[in-house]
């Protein structure tokens, strides 16, 4: 039976199409005056996700050839962060009904009744438009277009379409989380070339094993919420197999910046050793007996995946700041997009 048809068999206590947040079935009435505090609004921006976005965008900016005025660079990072926050708030607005039934998310501002869905929608749309327009006016149009695409992809393609429709949701949706270093690069160069695409690929292919490790720990909650995550639809065994396959594909991609000759031996050693460790962790998870051993192995892999990505980008940053990298690849190909 295909995954799609299995998905269709999932039963959910929730109505389809997310009527929850928008029709006011969550805590709080749309007619009540708001009790939302500035902190609630800040929480909507998903600060932890935002910090990762800022970090990867910063790496994209620093490793890019050329120069950007520090003030303009800081402003570009600010608008990338605001755009990411807007996407996160749109996601919380649309997924409030799912958030309300999952322990990890039920204390978010909308399901907890601290803020009204309409307020969130207005806030998020305003921030999204503001971030994109300001980025276009003050930095450059290419980075603004990429930022707009990222927000659209995360909020509409991933949150509204893929997430409730297919177990491949985070495979395709991972593109949104992979774009910030490309935006950072474009802010400096007003162009896209192979290096930022490699950075994009690293995050893109890292996303499925990272999220599926988490999904293994939350399978029951995802099933209860009716979200067709891979462990829910295809089972734990198949998920562990897919994690291993993606990890094997990810390890060489992580080492690409070194293999292509534009980062130092330090990056090479770290990325190859990290990639091997990642594959070993995935292999242990694949062979772990069902039950506590699987939970333990999945938790270890999830934790290591965060460390792996953070360290890879930190070394890329150190490479450029310390002057360790040997420069651009000899067969460097750039296709400039002039606006």
């Amino acid at each position: 039976m295909s995954m799609q048809s299995q998905t269709a068999r999932l039963t959910s206590p929730l109505s389809s199409g997310n009527a929850g947040a928008r029709q006011g079935s969550l805590k709080g009435s749309p007619n009540d005056p708001s009790l939302a505090s500035p902190r609630d609004y800040f929480e909507l921006l998903k600060p932890r996700v935002m910090s990762l976005v800022i970090f990867t965008a910063l790496v994209g900016m620093v490793v890019a050839p050329g120069h950007i005025h520090p003030v303009i660079g800081g402003i570009a990072l600010l608008f990338i962060a605001i755009g990411a926050g807007a996407a996160g708030a749109l996601n919380m607005w649309y997924e409030a009904d799912l958030d309300a039934v999952m322990s990890r998310t039920m204390k978010r501002p909308i399901p907890d009744g601290r803020i009204l869905p309409g307020e969130v929608l207005g806030f998020a749309l305003f921030l999204a438009v503001f971030a994109v327009v300001a980025m276009g006016l003050l930095v450059n149009v290419l980075s603004a277009a990429l930022l707009a695409f990222t927000i659209f992809f995360y909020a509409v393609v991933y949150s509204m379409w893929l997430k409730r429709w297919t177990p491949q949701n985070i495979v395709i949706g991972g593109a949104a989380g992979a774009l910030p270093p490309v935006i950072g690069w474009a802010a400096v160069t007003n162009a896209i070339s192979l290096e930022p695409i490699v950075m994009f690929l690293i995050i893109f292919i890292w996303t499925p094993p990272h999220f599926w490790a988490l999904a293994l720990l939350r399978t029951e909650e995802y099933a209860r919420a009716g979200v067709p995550m891979l462990p829910v639809v295809a089972g734990e065994r198949e998920t562990r197999r897919q994690i291993l396959l993606y990890s094997i594909a990810m390890a060489p991609v992580g080492a690409l910046p070194y293999l292509l000759g534009y980062t130092s031996a330090l990056y090479g050693v770290v990325s190859i050793a990290g990639g091997l460790w990642f594959v070993m962790s995935a292999f242990r998870l694949r062979n772990a007996p069902a039950g506590d051993a699987t939970v333990k192995a999945a938790r270890k892999l999830f934790g290591f995946s965060i460390l792996y990505l953070g360290v890879l980008f930190a070394v890329m940053l150190a490479d450029r700041l310390l002057g360790l990298s040997v420069g651009q690849m000899p067969w460097y190909v750039t296709w400039h997009v002039t606006w």
């Binding site: 505090s37 005025h69 303009i72 600010l78 006016l137 606006w339």
Partner: protein, 57 residues
């Protein structure tokens, strides 16, 4: 001349103290953000010069 008043004011929603406090906090946060934006755009104008909005499309 009498002041223009909204007839709903007398019969409309009366905010609780908690709601008034929340509204005041939100207003302060908006004011701070607007102030920071003014400073930000001023600095950018200094950095990029008066032609900040002149760019090839």
């Amino acid at each position: 001349m009498s002041a223009v008043t909204d007839p709903q004011d007398n019969n409309g929603i009366a905010l609780t103290e908690a709601q008034k406090k929340a509204r005041r906090n939100r207003s302060i946060a908006i004011a701070i953000c607007l102030g920071l934006l003014v400073v930000l755009f001023y600095i950018v104008t200094l950095v990029k010069g008066p032609g900040v909005l002149n760019r090839p499309i």
